[in-house]
């Protein structure tokens, strides 16, 4: 109803609803996913000045960018993974736009991850969370708070000679979130939605395989998840409308009702 929408706009303008930016700044230094060097690589974010009030353009400043679809804080569409390749409306340009707005359940495992980069999210862990905060509703984002976004880059990327060591979900819990909870998608603070060592899972990269296989979405390289309540945040996450895009860097905003007790 229009009156509700106007009331909402007033609440945002007046700060009764807070807008929290869940986006990392796009910089050249921010880690990008690394694949074995003989495979194709995601082009990292680069910025080249076109002009800056100089002989190349006296009164204006602008830049040209190069970047892969999966750089910085970014959205994964179902077409990104082979399991979602034949679904209808599976690319960033064809996903129905209302799906870019959805509420979130934020599962805090920052304490468990603090000294264990190999922390894996399991069904019992989520069930215990539901006992405290309520059941994850159908159509909700599940965001994994690990505080990984606060780490210095070498730890953030977690690369060792046997691959990345960063927290993420087990195959069981992803399948369960999709089938038993009918979630909207899965979001993380780490470079990918999957566990660092997820290539050794069965199936490999389950967050990609199961989520995208059922037309669900991914968000990664999120930040400020520590400012979100466990339930009740509204996520606005529209990716760029790239023709048959597999994903896109984007601005992710969370709307949270002001809670004086926090």
């Amino acid at each position: 109803m229009a009156s509700d929408l106007m009331a909402f706009a007033r609440a945002v303008a007046q700060g009764a609803i807070r807008v929290i930016d869940l986006t990392q700044t796009l910089t050249q230094e921010f880690p990008t996913i690394v694949l074995p060097p003989e495979l194709g690589q995601c082009t990292p974010f680069r910025i080249e000045e076109v002009s800056r009030y100089d002989e190349r353009g006296p009164a204006w400043y602008w830049n040209n960018l190069t970047l892969g679809e999966h750089t910085g804080t970014h959205f994964d569409a179902p077409i990104h993974w082979i399991s979602g390749k034949d679904l209808p409306n599976n690319a960033v340009d064809t996903i129905e736009p209302h799906k870019f707005i959805a509420t979130a359940s934020v599962i805090d495992c920052s304490r468990e991850c603090a000294n264990d980069p190999d922390f894996a999210l399991t069904i019992p862990f989520v069930e215990a969370w539901e006992e405290r905060h309520g059941r994850i509703a159908a159509g909700e984002w599940v965001l994994l708070r690990t505080d990984w976004s606060k780490k210095p880059y070498p730890e953030y990327a977690g690369l060792r000679n046997d691959g990345a060591h960063t927290p993420g979900p087990t195959p069981d819990v992803v399948k369960w979130l999709v089938e038993a909870r009918d979630v909207h998608g899965f979001g993380t603070e780490t470079i990918g939605t999957d566990y660092g060592q997820a290539q050794h899972f069965n199936p490999p990269y389950p967050a990609h395989f199961y989520m995208h296989g059922k037309g669900r979405f991914g968000l990664q390289c999120l930040t400020n998840l520590d400012q979100l309540p466990p339930k009740g945040a509204l996520i606005i996450a529209p990716p760029l409308k790239i023709k048959q895009g597999s994903g896109s860097p984007l601005r992710v905003l969370a709307l949270v009702e002001w809670d004086a007790s926090r």
Partner: protein, 413 residues
């Protein structure tokens, strides 16, 4: 013996940095034959094919038999100093700043009597070796060197004007992640460079040799990513005013031709790292180096490009890579012209497959990174502009000189 070079004092910030000057450098087209030999460190003079006379200075006809068949050829460089002179005054701006300067006449064993610069350890009546060098202006000149190595020989001020010796200079190795960059860091440290800056991109990615690299004496790891214009210009703001030699070790070797490659992603990476990488370094560091070409003992001296010899002729097995190398070589030639007003040399180093992971399937002979690094340091100590390292590079150079079309066919396999 030469007076050993003192470590340069810190600069007096109240003093103006002297602008680079160089000696008169106009040469006839024929005399550029000396330039070609000096650039690669060979001693060549003209030799008459009809009467065998060795000719100096360069002429278009033999002074004895008037034959026009007078190509440059390697000749013996031994001789005897007939007369020496110490010059105390000159109207030439370059020499005025460097007085006194020694010159002398040498009777070469192969015939001609030549006027040349004299190394400080050379005396009248002594045996010498004549060497062809490129002076500050890039012109080929002769210098008489002691017959046998003398203590601190490279520290002679006249000789040092013609070389790019890393001793007491500050070197930037642009990428220390690979075996070549790490070998360079070791070689330049051993050669007495006062600081060896080693660039590192994506410090969050671990790499083999990381520990050992940081333990090399006088190595300082600096943030540098040649694919990122901002990173290169930011680092130039930090160290650009005290970078005397740059060795661009950023590489991106990948097999594959241009048709067989699936898409352009890898080719873009190659061009970005190699061709655009060189351009970013040139824009950020070049002007500062050009302005510091005469800045005392540790003046800016050289920009070193490491190039596949297949920059000169495409090797389809690594065809897209060869093309990126050819683009890089062309840019390096442009850079040479742009750095010339500063008396800063561009050394282009050509080599075949290296003993590194991306040439894993290629059979020997391959060039070991340590051998390449040693050759680069020696080339700078000699003041060369072009260097071919290893059997493959020498072979390609020879075949290219004889029949480029045959080489193209043979490399196509």
């Amino acid at each position: 013996m030469s007076v050993p070079l003192n470590p340069p004092k810190r600069k007096d910030p109240l003093k103006k940095t002297r602008q680079p000057l160089f000696p008169q450098s106009t040469r006839s087209r024929t005399a550029q034959g000396l330039t070609a030999a000096a650039a690669q460190g060979r001693f060549e003079l003209q030799k008459c094919l009809d009467c065998g006379t060795i000719i100096y200075p360069p002429r278009d006809a033999c002074p004895k038999c008037l034959s026009a068949r007078v190509p440059f050829a390697p000749v013996d460089n031994g001789g005897l100093v007939l007369a020496e002179t110490t010059i105390h005054t000159s109207t030439d701006s370059y020499f005025r700043e460097r007085m006194p300067w020694r010159a002398g006449l040498t009777k070469l064993d192969c015939g001609p009597v030549v006027l040349s610069h004299l190394h400080g350890d050379v005396r009248e009546g002594e045996r010498v070796r004549l060497d062809l060098k490129l002076d500050k202006g890039g012109a080929a000149v002769l210098i008489a060197l002691p017959d046998k190595e003398t203590p601190n020989m490279a520290d002679d001020p006249q000789l040092r004007e013609m070389t790019c010796d890393p001793k007491y200079r500050r070197v930037l190795i642009t990428d220390g992640r690979g075996a070549v960059g790490q070998a360079m860091a070791r070689s330049f440290s051993d050669a007495g460079a006062s600081i060896v800056f080693v660039g590192l991109a994506d410090p969050w990615k671990p790499f083999p040799g990381q520990q050992a690299l940081s333990k090399i004496p006088r190595v300082e790891i600096v943030a540098l990513d040649v694919t990122d214009s901002e990173s290169v210009s930011d680092q130039a703001k930090q160290i650009g005013g005290r970078t005397d030699i740059i060795v661009n070790t950023a590489e991106h070797v990948r097999p594959g031709g241009i048709m067989q490659r699936h898409g352009l992603s890898v080719a873009r990476e190659e061009m970005d790292i190699r061709y655009f990488g060189l351009m970013r370094l040139a824009q950020a560091f070049g002007p500062g180096m050009r302005a510091r070409g005469a800045d005392g003992t540790n003046s800016a001296a050289a920009f070193v490009n490491l190039l596949s010899v297949h920059a000169l002729m495409n090797w389809p097995q690594y065809g897209a890579y060869s093309a990126a190398e050819a683009a890089t070589l062309s840019a390096a030639q442009c850079l040479r012209a742009e750095l010339h007003p500063g008396g800063v040399k561009v050394l282009n180093v050509f080599f075949g497959p290296l003993e590194t992971e991306w040439y894993q399937t290629i059979p020997p002979p391959k060039v070991a990174p340590a051998a390449l690094a040693k050759a680069v340091v020696q080339a700078l100590q000699r003041g060369l502009e072009e260097l071919f390292v290893g059997d493959i590079a020498e072979d390609i150079r020879a075949r290219l000189a004889v029949n480029p079309k045959a080489l193209e066919r043979e490399l196509a396999g």
